[in-house]
Symmetry: C2
Subunit: 370 residues, 2 copies
């Protein structure tokens, strides 16, 4: 995902004024006061999939309050920089944000676990951990000192492993390979011998076309196709070991939230939860359709990473996660909760959803080019 | 699931009166009128998992309307019989129901596709078809002549294949085997040589203990454990080929819905959608925990059905579904939409979620007793 697109941050004072106004409205005794919120995001305005979630929540909240509670959505750079979401929600400059927790790793070392980690939980396991496994409480505890309330904000599902301009058949093929791959996954890539490169989404196509990079990950078939990646790279690798179910986040300024009438608070929270199902539905359908188009391109080959490469990446992942857990008691607590829930949920999926996928595919013996 | 528990149907007149009252309230000019609805279900009151969805929706709708829109939930038999939900919502005797579409197969031959069919779509594929693949429009069209609006009402995820008191190693082992397995799956079971038996949930334990039946399916580890099934059967089979992602349904009386202020309509619909994520989260966590308990029982063995048995069940499934599709143009239309969406979504999952499960399990080489 695009991590830069950093424009000027607008002055916080006018937004703070809006926030104060909200509070006094709510206290005035009108049970259904008019409220106006500003929601900042890390995505270009109306970006397909992930960028639709804040638009959906704004629309739903307005519909459910008869137009009384309005949320205006700002794309990255319109009011705050793409990576300024957390800070601006924390300060109260914006009432609410939509982004991904792993962007706040520099400030909060445990944050990546609330988006997802390499070889970690998929969408279904992740959401179950947040709701039923203690994840939500740990997430709230992590953000509490900043006056921010986090909520799950949709999920991309398993991403694709990325586009490569040469086949990956051994560990040697990884050595020095320049791949656009951000965050923890980038660190792991480097430990395995590759060279991770950080580039905003908008610069990927040109960099890969010119050979400045040898490979790139982006999101999945729908977003990858929209970026034109099948035109410039031959090998489309799976699975997305590095992002097995990236959960987005809504962040809400706590003071602004507490100033809302309680039924508005419920409306906001329930609108956010309804997005979880909605975004996965969108990605399942849009990615399935886009994959058909990608497969019909004779210049593209879909391949699975060889097991020797996946083994190495897995070992390096365990090293990086262990180092993170050892870095502080706060991270250790989240790491322990995450990994123990994953172990239990994974054992269940092995006899249910995973077993069903395996059996269905074996029985149907569908021809496939992979 | 329990399909009987049939008690007397209460007179519709008092409920119709409540419905009228609702309508006149809404028309009175008060933007936030007091509304009282009755919701009937096919489940015992507060049944874990599936029975929680209507309680959740009732609570959320009340919270979001400041207590103005109240929905009272009735368990099976309290106001209408377990399988009387559709008819009583259609007549207006109840404003709303929570059940599963495949129970209305006798009236509407295409209905089972809106719950799920053997070897069909899993939860994620199913919800994507409903939201993005034209499923919702077909479902509404099917129910329109009855004045009923259907909405997705949560999903159990992949169920388990069932409990058997002897191992299934060949097709011969299936012959005459008496299994409690309802609906289309029961027909398929019979075609493969078995004998399907219909029993309400509450009678399963005794029937299996006494040897009146040789096997039973129920739901998944959490509900199966609560029923005591590990105490009386040795073999726990996977995967649940017969129910790969059973979607529940909310049914709403259209006239009652149209009489609501539009923001109440949105509140109701969005509360229903938020349940989709919530129920899967519950089942993932509860089933994972229950499976650990089941595995720690030395008398239970978890096994996968042999491929010769699954192949046969798959062939019989195709026969039954083809016969259904040939029975009328209405069924054919739904069948075509369902199967073509499944084909596309399945091809995508094969390179994303399914590939990830496969790779993660292979790498971790976790010891397992299956």
């Amino acid at each position: 995902m695009d991590r830069r697109n950093i424009l000027t941050l607008i002055g916080a004072s006018s937004l703070m004024a809006a926030c104060q106004e909200t509070s006094s409205d709510a206290a005035s005794g009108d049970q259904n006061p008019e409220i106006n919120w500003r929601l900042i995001t890390s995505w270009p305005k109306n970006f397909p999939g992930i960028g639709q979630a804040p638009e959906d929540v704004a629309r739903m909240v307005s519909e459910m309050t008869n137009g009384k509670f309005k949320i205006k959505v700002y794309g990255a750079g319109e009011m705050a920089p793409a990576l300024g979401v957390f800070d601006n929600v924390s300060s109260g400059a914006a009432h609410m944000g939509h982004s991904a927790a792993y962007y706040w790793k520099g400030k909060l070392a445990a944050a990546p676990f609330f988006t997802g980690v390499p070889f970690g939980m998929n969408a279904r396991e992740m959401h179950a951990w947040i709701q039923e496994g203690g994840g939500q409480a740990l997430w709230e505890e992590l953000y509490a000192p900043y006056g921010v309330l986090p909520l799950a904000g949709g999920n991309t599902g398993v991403q694709m492993g990325g586009w490569f301009n040469k086949p990956i058949e051994s560990l040697e093929d990884l050595q020095g390979l320049k791949m656009r791959i951000p965050g923890i996954a980038g660190e792991i890539w480097n430990k395995a011998g590759g060279t991770s490169v950080m580039l905003p989404g908008g610069e990927i196509f040109q960099a890969l076309e010119k050979g400045t990079i040898d490979a790139t990950e982006w999101l999945g078939p729908a977003n990858d196709l929209a970026f034109g990646l099948p035109q410039i790279a031959k090998y489309y690798y799976m699975p997305g070991w590095h992002e097995p179910g990236s959960m987005l986040e809504f962040s809400i300024n706590k003071k602004a939230f507490e100033a809302l009438p309680s039924h508005y608070q419920f409306i906001l929270k329930i609108a956010c939860q309804s997005v979880a199902d909605k975004m996965l539905n969108f990605y399942t359908a849009a990615n399935a359709k886009a994959l058909e188009t990608i497969k019909s391109n004779p210049n593209v080959e879909i391949r699975q990473f060889p097991s020797v490469v996946l083994d190495k990446l897995y070992q390096m992942t365990q090293e990086v996660l262990s180092e993170m857990a050892a870095s502080s008691d706060d991270v250790k607590k989240v790491y322990d909760s995450y990994t123990s829930f994953q172990k239990q949920a994974q054992a269940y999926n092995r006899v249910s959803e995973e077993a069903y996928y395996r059996v269905r595919t074996a029985i149907e013996s569908i021809e496939t080019d992979i």
